[in-house]
């Protein structure tokens, strides 16, 4: 047993969410992170960042997408305990913190009414943000590919495509 406790993970991890470091202790209390907590759960229920949505909780809808170290990933299939030291950006991290000005991509979604109920929107925007960060002038098929894991029950896909292309450099 001694050996096991020695090898068990550190009882504290640090994740950097929207440039703010959070020290989280591992445990079973409401303000702690359980070893089986997903990142989606931690963001929403421990840190109160409810902008990240959970649709299927199984990897098949894309609603829970956040950016981790520059890449879009699914927070519903990520264990928080495995995120020690990681940089995570959520939808709350996109607006200019001082002025409250929206990210151009967020503004473009509004301008194109690229949603109806809005449930899929944070995931769509995070995946699109990651795309534009890596590829500022994507072609239509590249936008479609980047968003291929995102499901919109309100069928706003076409408006989303327009919104992302218009926020990209080429679309101006």
């Amino acid at each position: 047993m001694d050996k096991k406790t020695k090898q068990e993970d550190p009882q504290e991890i640090e994740i950097i969410v929207n440039n703010i470091p959070y020290s989280l202790t591992i445990g079973i209390h409401p303000d702690q992170v359980g070893p089986s907590d997903t990142l989606a759960k931690t963001l929403r229920e421990t840190l109160g960042l409810t902008g990240t949505k959970v649709g299927c909780d199984q990897g098949s809808c894309g609603a829970c997408t956040v950016i981790m170290d520059g890449l879009p990933i699914l927070s519903c299939l990520t264990l928080t305990i495995e995120c020690d030291g990681r940089h995570i950006t959520t939808i709350e991290g996109l607006q200019e913190p001082k002025t409250g000005k929206l990210d151009p991509l967020q503004q473009s979604f509004i301008d194109h009414t690229a949603f109806q109920c809005g449930f899929c929107t944070p995931g769509m925007i995070m995946a699109s943000r990651a795309l534009l960060d890596n590829n500022p002038s994507p072609k239509t098929h590249e936008v479609k590919e980047a968003l291929s894991g995102h499901f919109c029950r309100c069928i706003s896909h076409y408006h989303v495509l327009d919104a992302v292309l218009s926020a990209s450099k080429k679309g101006g």
């Binding site: 993970d9 699914l74 264990l79 894991g149």
Partner: protein, 324 residues
Amino acid sequence: MKAFHHYNARSIDQALSLIKDHDGQARFIAGGTDLLGVLKDDILPRYPLAIINIKTIPGLDEIEEKKDGTITIGALSKLAHVAGSPVIQKHLPALVEAAQAVATPEIRNMGTIGGNLCQDTRCWYYRYPHQMGGRIQCFRKGKGPCLALKGDNRYHSIAGGKGCVAVCPSDTAIALVALDARIVIIGPQGEREIPIMDFYTNMGTILKPDEILKTIIIPPVLAESKQIFLKFTLRKPIDFAVVSVASLIKEEDGMCTDVRIALGAVAPTPVRAYSAEDMLRGNSIDTALAEEAAQQAVKGFKPLSMNAYKIEITKTLIKRSLVQ
């Protein structure tokens, strides 16, 4: 998700000793894209007490090209990394296609090639969530008969199965079979290397709970051979294959000198179409011969209820992989 202990393994030895400590009641986690779904739905007959992270073991995610042309892929390489690797893109286009065909961009950023090969089946009876109206038992869960046999078989085997007719869900496995890959497994007894075809069994893989898939080895591909991977799905992204085909063809002066055809999602394991390959070797491949070979490949296949259409799709994909 129910609670478990979690460990970050720092070395293979540590991972093996941690799993031993838990006496079969622990699981390795790689990208987690399959395992966490299984755990959330409480599918496993015994819920693990501990999860051992093997992503933290250094050196298991490297892709290398050896001097003789052999390519090795560390099992913990992410699918996006495999598909984007210049070495793989140059020599193994079928594997690029297969890795790229898996799931979605986000899942390919998370899921590993080792996890893709080891993933649990996607049979909708087996994967039925325990929390939705109670547990559905089945042969694979260790209790009762295979429910597919009397049920809806749209996505099940067309080539039989012992006890269970769920199909092998992995896309990369099919490309790797056509590429004649070998895999290296490490466990308490040491390391062993086996052909990928021997990795799969009717009920999954030969991997024991205390073993780690370490490396995938692809022997030098036949010079000037053509590789192709085709996957039929209803929606292009997200969906698992209804049928997939990977083939590797070498032709000299218009004559087929060597060929390997692998079929995916038609049986509980990947299938090599040996007899179709025999028909092609030594001949020049035209539409008529491709048609005959496709017919030969599905000879003896027996559809279950609602899946005879998969036989037609298999034949069409084989033909497309041979002549375009």
